[in-house]
Structures are given as C-alpha cells and as structure tokens.
C-alpha cells in the first residue's frame, strides 16, 4: 500500500476523524493568543497553568471522576486569576509565584497519583498526562462536540475583543489613559489561556502545551509585520503543523504530541531562515 491508501484506510475509522477534527480545533485556538502571550511575557503563566492542570487531573483521577474536564477547567481558570493577581503584587514577584504554583502542582499531582492510584502502570499514566497520550485516538463524540463549543467560545471572544487585546498588549499604560479596563482584559486573556490549556492537554500533554502556543507565533513574527498578519499566519502554521503532525504520527506510530512539536520546530527554523533571507531579523 502506498501512503495515500494507508491514510484512506485509517480514515475509514471514525476515531481518526475525531482525532483530526479535535486536533485542528485545538491548534486553531492555541495559536490565536500566542502573540499576546509572547509579548506580554505571559508565556510563563501558560507554562505554570499547564502544570496546574496536571495536578488537577491527578486529583480527578484519585477521586475516580469519570469526566475530569469540569474539575480541571475550574481549577485551572481559578489559578489563572490567582497568578495574575499575585503578578501585580510586589511582595511575591510574578515569576516566583508562577514557579511556586507550577512546581507545587506538579509535585503534589505526582505524589497523589503515586499514593492513591490503583493503576498498575503509574509511570505510564504520568507520562501520558505529561507528554500527551493516545487518548486523542479514543475521543468520543461528546469530546468532539465539547471541543467544537470551546473553540467557538475562544474564537468569538478573540474576535469580539480583538482591538482591545491588541491595544492592551501593545501599550498597557496608554490603554488605561483612554479609559480601557486593562485589568479586565488581562483577566480575559488569562481565562482564555486557561481554557485553551485544558483543552490542549488532550492533544500534546501538559509539558508540551507551551510549545503549541508559542512556536507558531514566534515563527510568524519572523516574517510578518502587522499584528493581524502575524495572528492569521500563526493560526495557519499551527493548524498545518498539527494536521501533518497527527498524520505522521498515525503513519509512523510516533507519539502525537512530540511529533506535532517537532513539526512546529522545523517550521520555526524555516521561517527563521526566510526572515533572515528576506532581510529582516
């Protein structure tokens, strides 16, 4: 069989379709806020939140919840708000607060899983939570719908607040002087990030989410010059990379998450070179 026949064979299965649809939706959402995240130095928060989500998943599995999504969502959004608050507090520096919460959540999560888990393959469970698992291939129809709804919410919020997000990212002080509620928009950005992270855990696992969010934005920034074109370009890069990553991983039997990130890295270097050759750095 050649590659196309193999793919056609796989695509006769509903679960492959589900995986591809959800994968594309996740890639789409996670790249929307990439530019903002990179420029606002929020990437740390993104990283910290993914660890928090890991801790929440551990708690959910200890409590033997069948659907861990709601709990993880609530905990992560709450932590996003908390991190933003402490970030503005001068007593504990923002970075230190993020490190505290993220490492703490990671440790407690692993501890809980180790002590309470009934599973015989704990390190396997932990590994798949951290690096993404084959769970992307066992998605139910409900998961697909949930992803679609979440994607719609994120997209709607992004479009509706696009101009404000730009203004607040570009120059917070100026935005404040024009009467824009900067704190509110920062909060909105943090909540969207939290949503995206929980959502993307399924695809690449908690350790690799930042890559999914940040690489497309960094690649696009090498070549494009306006906020709009960078945003559109990073969405396209992200979707294309994730799609090819998923297909490659199906064909080659590699782990989904790391394959996608690997493709993202290759594309980043391509854009890096393109930017250099185009005379811009």
């Amino acid at each position: 069989m050649n590659i196309f026949e193999t793919l056609a064979f796989y695509f006769e299965n509903q679960f492959v379709w589900n995986a591809v649809i959800v994968g594309v939706l996740i890639a789409f959402c996670s790249s929307l806020l990439g530019v903002t995240l990179v420029l606002k130095r929020f990437s740390f928060i993104g990283d910290g939140l993914s660890h928090v989500a890991f801790g929440a998943i551990a708690i959910a599995s200890v409590l033997k919840l069948t659907n861990n999504m709601p709990l993880v969502l609530v905990v992560t959004v709450l932590c996003a708000v908390l991190l933003l608050r402490t970030g503005q507090n001068t007593k504990i520096k923002g970075d230190a607060a993020v490190a505290m919460i993220s490492v703490g959540a990671l440790a407690i999560g692993y501890l809980l899983m180790n002590v309470f888990s009934a599973s015989s393959n704990i390190s396997g469970d932990v590994c798949s939570t951290l690096f993404g698992s084959t769970s992307i291939l066992t998605l139910t129809e409900t998961d697909v719908w949930m992803s679609a709804i979440l994607a719609l919410i994120v997209l709607a919020a992004f479009i509706f607040f696009y101009n404000k997000i730009f203004a607040v990212t570009f120059d917070e002080s100026f935005s404040k002087t024009t009467g824009t509620h900067v704190e509110l928009y920062n909060l909105l950005i943090a909540v969207i990030i939290a949503l995206v992270i929980v959502f993307a855990m399924n695809l690449v696992g908690s350790l690799l989410i930042s890559a999914l969010v940040i690489f497309p934005a960094l690649s696009a920034m090498r070549v494009f010059k306006s906020f709009k074109s960078v945003t559109i370009c990073s969405v396209v890069i992200s979707v294309v990379c994730s799609l090819s990553g998923i297909l490659i991983s199906i064909l080659a039997g590699t782990p989904v998450g790391s394959t996608i990130v690997a493709v993202d890295i290759v594309v980043f270097f391509a854009f890096f070179l393109a930017g250099k050759i185009g005379g811009r750095s």
Partner: protein
C-alpha cells in the same frame, strides 16, 4: 475654570514622599514645560495626572468639560514595543479605543481620524510599515498620531525627544508647537532648557525648589541659570 488643576499634591512611592505641596493649573491653549533633575518625580507627576497612579495627598481636577479619558499621552517607550509586530496603521488606530468603548470594531469616522492624524504627522504612505522597523523619530511621530486620536484637547508628552538627533529633535518640537497653535494644550517633560525657553508658555520646575509660573516669571527669577543648571 482651568482645563487641569492640581492642588497641594504629594507624590511618592511606598509611603515615601518625593514631591510635596505641588500646585499648578493649566488653561486651554497653554504650553507647559515640566523641568527638573533626573528622579525628581516628573514622570510620576504625569502618571498621576493621567490617573495611572493615585496621589498620596491632594487632588487632580479636570475642568472645561475635559474627561479623564480624553487625554493624549506619549509615554516613554517600553521594552515590549521593540519587537512588537504591529503596523503603523494598527498602532495609530488603537488611539481610538477610548472612543470605541465596548464596541468591538472601529467606525468609519474613527478610521478617517486615524488617517487624518497620520497625514498630520507627515507619515503618509507609511501605514503598512512595521512600527519596530521605523527610526526613533518616526516611532515618536506614530505615537504622537496615536495620542492625537485619543484627544483633540490636551497632550501629555514624556520626554518626546529623548534619543533623537538634533535635526529630528527640532522637527519634533516644531510639530508639537504647530499642534499647540492649532489649539491643543501641551504638557511636556523635557530636559532641554533651551527648548523650554523657546516654546513653552509656562514652566513647572520640580526638585528641591518648586516653581510654577509663566516663562517670563521663570526667567526673571533667574530660573534658567540657577534652577536650570540641571540640563543634561
């Protein structure tokens, strides 16, 4: 009533006062230069007027129907902006965000205003250029155009010429003076006593000695030699 009135202001950080007993007022059409040594609290005063910080004592009042979100502000540049991918058009248009309020998109008039201000700053044809690839002087003009989108009444400029060469500095000052002649009130922080004496109508000196008055009063009080010794 004055456009802006500050009464018995105390400014400071973390309970430590830097400036106390500061009172001054700015009338429509004035050109106020704020001078003083490094670290004397000029930027802090500007942030307080803008409502970015609360004063420790005293109050800032607006008159003549000026709303607190109708102030144009030209900040000192933040490091984030250096690698920000944004076109000139996007940056200038973001000056209209106060007018747009919660409306998600900009109206035709707002876009027209942005276009007009780009022209006013002599940036025609540069709308699509990337902000971070412009020269320092061009960047300042872009930010000035953005500030003009936020206001038709009053501009607050925090060291608008720092880092610019003498030629571009002179152009910038002329541009600001022209805006002032068009009826826009200017409050400018400057280290450049010569410019202050040439363009300003009023001087506010912050430091060990406080002074507020017209340029002539400042001159006759020996300000430019005695208090103005802090140039550069």
């Amino acid at each position: 009533m004055a456009l802006l009135k500050c009464e018995n202001l105390s400014l400071g950080y973390d309970g430590v006062e830097i400036v106390t007993g500061l009172s001054f007022e700015v009338n429509s059409g004035d050109y106020l230069c704020i001078v003083g040594e490094n670290g004397s609290g000029k930027s802090t005063l500007m942030k307080t007027v803008l409502g970015l910080r609360q004063p420790m004592k005293g109050k800032v009042e607006f008159g003549d129907g000026l709303k607190s979100n109708e102030i144009g502000y030209l900040p000192q540049q933040t490091p984030v902006q250096r690698d920000f991918p944004a076109s000139v058009w996007e940056v200038v248009l973001s000056g209209c965000q106060g007018r747009a309020g919660l409306r998600p998109f900009y109206k035709k008039e707002e876009k027209a205003l942005a276009a007009a201000n780009i022209g006013r700053m002599g940036l025609d044809g540069m709308e699509k250029r990337c902000y971070r690839e412009l020269s320092g002087g061009q960047q300042q003009r872009v930010l000035l155009a953005r500030a003009l989108c936020a206001t038709g009444k009053i501009l607050l400029l925090d060291e608008p010429v720092s880092g610019l060469d003498p030629m571009v500095t002179a152009e910038m000052y002329d541009l600001i003076k022209k805006l002032n002649r068009d009826g826009i009130t200017i409050i400018m922080i400057s280290h450049d006593i010569n410019a202050a004496s040439k363009y300003a109508s009023h001087i506010l000196h912050i430091g060990d000695t406080l002074f507020f008055g017209t340029k002539a009063e400042y001159l006759s009080s020996g300000g430019f030699s005695a208090k103005g010794g802090d140039v550069k």
